[in-house]
């Protein structure tokens, strides 16, 4: 029997296989081959062939976030999902869409808009690659979400069914195409935010929402973190049903902008906007367009740190950012979904890697020292986290991107079960997973 070469095996599994080029790097790691399956059958055959030959595999959609997470410890085969590009089913009356992983968010939005519907996830504009929309598979794999997470949740809240291919080529699905369904384990949750480490997502079913009749943005500026935090808490605690509450602070000593999105009946939105002006205080502006910084996540060549916390800790989180920034000699821009407890701190490419490492360490110390609040010591031991979503290579080499993670040993056990050979995006997630 003639030994089967790797390219031969890959070509037999999938029609579109080519040698990798400089545009195919994953966090500076160069794969050897790129394959673009056009069907579930091809994807399955491809992964089976990869496992057979011991190839490490990293999935990629549009590539807008392919640099997120830790660099893979190995990457032999890049699986490009862009040919899995079908909106398989959109039953408007069921508010559900079944979509292949390579469909872009913009493409899907176009299809849904014609029915007055949406997948209610904000996607930050392309990562330095203007005009490139992320794929639904990529959004699921990274768990990325934007301002409207306050109202609609994150990808894990909107995915109701998923089809995946495991490292050995096994095709498995969970959930289904009905919103209400508790039959079996919900693997959609597990794969969302798994960064490709458990297998290839090939298809997902999403719960949709109607497009709102009207939207307005109510914006105000505050001189300091405490005043801004009070405004965020007042808006979040009001009964005005905000869809999103965002803050933006370009630098430590600048104004903090707070913007609130209201959606719904046009007259009602106007009424609520007036009510919100009373909550936010003098100097509020009402507009039907978002402020320029809204939902912006500039990741090109920058270090972006995602901070998650209990919303009541907002003043403490901003203080932790400031104190770590001062100590490291850096002044990060901070912004994000303050009322939902998620902010991003961004540093430009001019920030020295050592200083970024100092900042991150100081920030994590500050977050660990946050007051536990009304829960006392009875809640989760860690109540906040800071992870590096993406960073230039020299920074990445200096820091622990993920930091401490609860239940890491269980996560390792999950990885060992789903991908015993550690061939799927090895090393990309926390703890070397």
């Amino acid at each position: 029997m003639t030994p089967v070469t790797v390219p031969g095996a890959l070509a037999r599994a999938c029609r579109a296989v080519r040698p990798a080029g400089p545009r195919d790097t994953v966090a500076d790691v160069m794969p050897e081959w790129v394959a673009a399956p056009a069907s579930l059958a091809e994807a399955s055959a491809l992964l089976a062939a990869a496992t057979e030959h011991g190839l490490a595999v990293v999935p990629r959609g549009s590539g807008t976030a392919v640099g997120w997470g830790a660099p893979p410890t190995r990457c032999d085969l890049l699986i490009d999902t862009l040919r899995l590009d079908q909106v398989v089913e959109h039953e408007a009356g069921d508010l559900v869409a079944r979509v292949q992983a390579g469909v872009t968010m913009a493409g899907l939005a176009g299809v849904l808009r014609s029915a007055g519907q949406q997948l209610a996830l904000d996607v930050p504009p392309g990562n330095g690659s203007r005009g490139v929309s992320p794929t639904v598979g990529g959004v699921l794999a990274t768990g990325a979400a934007g301002p409207r997470r306050l109202r609609y949740g994150t990808p894990r809240d909107l995915v109701i069914g998923i089809t995946v291919v495991r490292a050995d080529g096994t095709v498995a699905k969970s959930g289904g195409k009905v919103v209400k369904n508790v039959a079996g384990y919900d693997l959609g949750k597990l794969y969302t935010g798994s960064y490709g480490t458990l297998g290839l997502i090939t298809e997902a079913v999403f719960r949709l929402h109607p497009l709102p009749a009207a939207s307005v943005f109510v914006t105000a500026g505050y001189a300091g973190p405490d005043a801004a935090a009070r405004a965020v808490a007042a808006a979040g605690g009001s009964d005005l049903a905000p869809t999103a509450i965002e803050i933006d602070r370009p630098g430590r000593d600048g104004l903090i902008s707070v913007a609130v999105l209201l959606e719904g009946d046009p007259d009602g939105v106007a009424e609520r906007a007036a009510g919100l002006r009373g909550v936010l205080g003098a100097g509020t502006a009402v507009a039907d367009r978002p402020p320029p910084w809204w939902a912006r996540l500039d990741t090109a060549d920058r270090t972006v740190i995602r901070i998650a916390f209990w919303a009541a800790a907002l003043p403490g989180v901003l203080a932790a950012v400031d104190s770590a920034g001062r100590a490291a000699g850096l002044d990060p821009a901070v912004g994000g979904s303050a009322a939902a407890g998620v902010l991003h701190a961004g540093l430009g490419r001019d920030a020295a890697p050592g200083a970024v490492a100092d900042f991150l360490a100081g920030l994590r110390d500050g977050l660990a020292g946050l007051e536990p609040g009304s829960a006392g010591g009875a809640g989760p031991p860690a109540r906040a986290s800071a992870i590096v979503l993406t960073a230039p290579g020299p920074v990445r080499d200096r820091v622990d991107l993920w930091g401490p993670v609860p239940a890491l040993s269980l996560m390792r056990a999950v990885k060992d079960q789903f991908d015993p050979g550690h061939l799927m995006a090895p090393g990309r997630l926390t703890g070397g997973i």
Binding site: A92, G93, L95, V96, G143, G153, D157, T170, V171, A172, S174, K177, V178, K180, N181, V182, A183, G184, Y185, D186, L187, K189, L190, G193, L198, G236, G237, S238, D239, A241, D265, G268, V269, R272, A308, F309, W310, A311, A312, A313, G341, G373, S374, A375, A378, G379, P380, R383, A384, S385, W402, P406, L410, M411, A413, V414, Q417, F418, L429, I433
Partner: protein, 485 residues
Amino acid sequence: MTVQAMIPRMTEICGPAGVVADPAELRTYECDGLTSHRAMPGLVVLPETAEQVAAVVTECARAGVPFVARGSGTGLSGGALPRTDGVLIVTSRMRRIIAIDPVSQRAIVEPGVTNLAVSNAARPYGYFYAPDPSSQVICSVGGNVAENSGGAHCLKHGFTVHHVTGLQIVTPAGELTWLGDGTGAAPGYDLVGAFTGSEGTLGIVTKIVVRLTRIPQAITTLLAAFETTGAGGAAVSAIIGAGILPAAIEMMDALAIEAAEAAVHCNYPAGAGAVLVVELDGPEADVRRDGAAVRALCQEAGCTEIRAADDPAERAAIWAGRKSAFAAVGRISQAYLVQDGVVPRTALGEVLDKIAALAQASGIRVANVFHAGDGNLHPLVLYNDATPGEEAAAEEVSGAILDLCIEHGGSITGEHGVGTDKSRYMPRMFTPEDLDTMQLLRCAFDPAGLCNPGKIFPTPRLCGEVPGPRRGVHPLVASGQAEQF
């Protein structure tokens, strides 16, 4: 080690008041809300702290004794069915509400706290706990996490999994650990999401961080009567098609209305073939506008009468009929099966017709009460247990309804869970590869297969084995750690 031999150690851990070994007392725990499945637990323990749960589970793991968690015992799929050779761990003494943090919109509670108690504790701050299973007065939050419980209002507000951001659990090895950090954005795998709805097979919850929801500005409830369920179904489609997302849309057919009327005199429109209960919540202007639109759409769909309720007492009167329906059916039938299946909303009309045809062909009456907004059917299959063969006929109709759900792209359970009751239906909905992949998660958490064994999956996977044709008796079955159905 036998379960009886564990009594002294369990008494050390939980105290004498926390151990039940007397056969008469054990009988209290022999079933959950699904009374057709019964098993006497080998031993019952009632720990008061997470540390006690961990110590109990550690002992079980060491002795190779299976264990099952139970909250209030209201589950409807036999998920908390005990093991005669195992320990039943009851969380009803763990009922502290540890903290309410209104600014973070979070509460921390113990698993035995009742669902409604969370809303009651949050109300003074202007918040409520959104998932509201109809047993919310007694069902426990720990049980809700195990079952990923929904409720009438999950159409808009989502299920338990959307409202849980952190879980302290005891792993099947007896280790106390936190999944998630309460933020809802913890780094790493979403183990909170994967654990929620795992029906007690991945560990035992000892603390829960829940998300609280702001009480809406306005709530209005509409009751619309129709001549047929088909007309009611058309109204539901029209409402959703108009871009309106009510908090709840419930439907009852003539037989269910008759039962509710007999039980609670809910004064629903006489002679109606179907009633819809539509509840809208949110900002006042939106509720006003959507309320007017729902009225118009119901009228277009041919409703014969429509009533609105804006104050709590009127709303309660409308809901009384719907909430009493399951129990009320007991008045018109000696015995009945409660089914729980889901179809895509757009298939509702067709499936209801087919259910009616099934009922007619078999001579078994079916009353329909359902969450129409999300296609979650609860057909109540009525039979006379004194008539030989009728129970079997009812079982057959009930199973055929699930087949209809699967045929139409739906699910075998929308909220009651798979448990003991439906594991045999899982292969109709999922391939062997699907089930095998799900069980990888089980293997990661519970490689020894001691944590609520025999539930969900028709064929337990021996962790580490390669899927393929099986020869002889499964080793887990041979060792008594699992059952096959």
